[in-house]
Symmetry: C2
Subunit: 306 residues, 2 copies
């Protein structure tokens, strides 16, 4: 069962060197999501063979153009390609007004229901939930209101030990075992013991997405133990003053946070246009947190669960 993050765009404000504005595609089990939607995101999806029509929900972190200016074009293309299935959109409340007036002046009504969910922008809220996943916001600190997102799998069912399952076991009994519960024999005893018939659960995986933000050491608490952290690393430490002034972070700060939060893997992104060569950003991060990687466009980062 996949848990895969594909980088669609990794640059900050100005798109250069073939690097584009921020967007990421998330494939968790059989669900497909989009994280931010910079200009040209629909083209990046095409380029990397990811079907936009499969998207169930789109999450927008904040209203700087490099994080949402591709949204109207993407939503329009879904409409023109005949989508009728609903889509959910999560973002700052004002995003609704921006889309509404663009739709009004183009005299367009989408064929599909677009459910807009305004975020409080406070962080710490569960904003999306299905049988398998929850999405929670993170309070970030940027020049304008901005949130991060944590995508977390709910506990997986217990895996059945097929070698041990008796032939005549009933569906209801299997359901109990999958929850890790013993099957009672109806006389106060146990018919099948869960720890005998199951192999334990697969690990529930999680991904935290943090851009754009100042370095917030306290964030470590909220993202403690996530498997993968994407954190903006707009600048090198030598530009830390500039990073702070523009409400951004350095590669070193991202690595520090990854270490403090005890994550498995750190992805670095939202690169400044001043860096044609990105290797120094990765090097800087790896000195503090060795499992740091550049979030290069077109790359897919998988989280395995054994």
């Amino acid at each position: 069962m996949p848990f895969a993050v594909t980088i669609l765009g990794s640059n900050s404000a100005i798109p250069v060197y073939g690097r584009h504005h921020t967007a990421q595609h998330l494939h968790i089990q059989n669900h497909h999501f989009l994280l931010d939607c910079g200009e040209g995101t629909q083209l990046r999806l095409q380029e990397f063979g990811l079907k936009a029509q499969r998207l169930e929900a789109i999450f927008i972190s904040h209203l700087h153009g490099d994080h949402y200016l591709g949204l109207m074009g993407l939503l329009s293309s879904l409409h023109l390609q005949g989508r009728t299935k609903e889509i959910h959109l999560f973002g700052p409340p004002q995003l609704s007004e921006i889309l509404t007036i663009q739709l009004r002046y183009s005299d367009t009504t989408f064929r599909y229901p677009l459910h807009f969910h305004p975020l409080t922008m406070a962080g710490g809220e569960v904003i999306y939930e299905n049988k398998k996943i929850t999405v929670t916001t993170l309070a970030l600190q940027h020049r304008i209101p901005c949130v991060g997102f944590v995508f977390a799998e709910k506990p997986h069912p217990f895996r059945l030990n097929k070698d041990r399952l008796p032939a005549g076991i009933k569906p209801g009994e299997i359901a109990l075992l999958k929850k890790g519960e013993d099957v009672p024999d109806g006389h106060g005893g146990t018919k099948y013991a869960a720890n005998d018939m199951t192999l334990g659960r697969r690990k529930a995986r999680s991904y935290a997405y943090c851009t754009d933000t100042l370095y917030l050491p306290e964030l470590a608490e909220s993202i403690k133990g996530v498997d993968m952290l994407y954190h903006e690393a707009t600048f090198l430490t030598e530009k830390e003053l500039k990073a702070t002034k523009t409400y951004h972070a350095t590669a070193g700060q991202a690595a520090q946070l990854a270490r403090d939060a005890g994550v498995q893997t750190l992805l670095l992104g939202h690169f400044s246009a001043r860096y044609k060569d990105l290797a120094p950003l990765e090097e800087e991060a790896r000195k503090i947190f060795p499992r740091s990687y550049l979030a290069l466009e077109g790359e897919t980062f998988n989280i395995n669960n054994g």
Copy 2:
């Protein structure tokens, strides 16, 4: 002196097959303009080596997303790259509201003056003028208000015949000759005759840009004799009913208009996503108007003036 149209995007609503949303770069003498600005236009400018900072004015035909969704990103990049020089923007009045709320919610104030000139959308108005060029609107007919644009050079000065010019001729005398006027001798006679000292004018060139619109035969009158006509050719004649229903035109209709208007060259564009192979569109147009060409992205079409 150049008069060059570079195609940045040539597709209609859905960007496919490496074809992008509408935008064109115009280089007339030492002036640089942008016609429409679909999503990703700033990237196309980069790709084709055209400097966005040189743009003096941007003209938006109408408010369907495929003609303006790249505008906010382009204007933002000009700002972030340090532009301080003013820029002029011409478009439907509501465009101002769309940009204003996006600027408000991103808490952005451009460093450069952005002069917005709302169009009446009626056509037939001179909306821009400098020493060398005028831009006039054309009334088009689309699902929402839409105008075309004619870029026309003003009459060039008379070229001086250097073999005939006397050594001591004064700047004021040259100025008169360049206007095609005789230089008086101060006693009621002629010191230098214009037709003796000059070689005539270079041809004043013109370009008409018509997208998106129904086929309007009466347009031939307004664009009579322009050197180059760009006309949308969204469909083949076999889809004429669909073209009419969606307020678009066919390649055959574009060619008919080019013939009726007596233009030199016809550029076909705004191709439907249904056509992967565009050759049939060109073939259809050439049967009616042989000097028809596909407006392929990255191509530059020059108008010479001998």
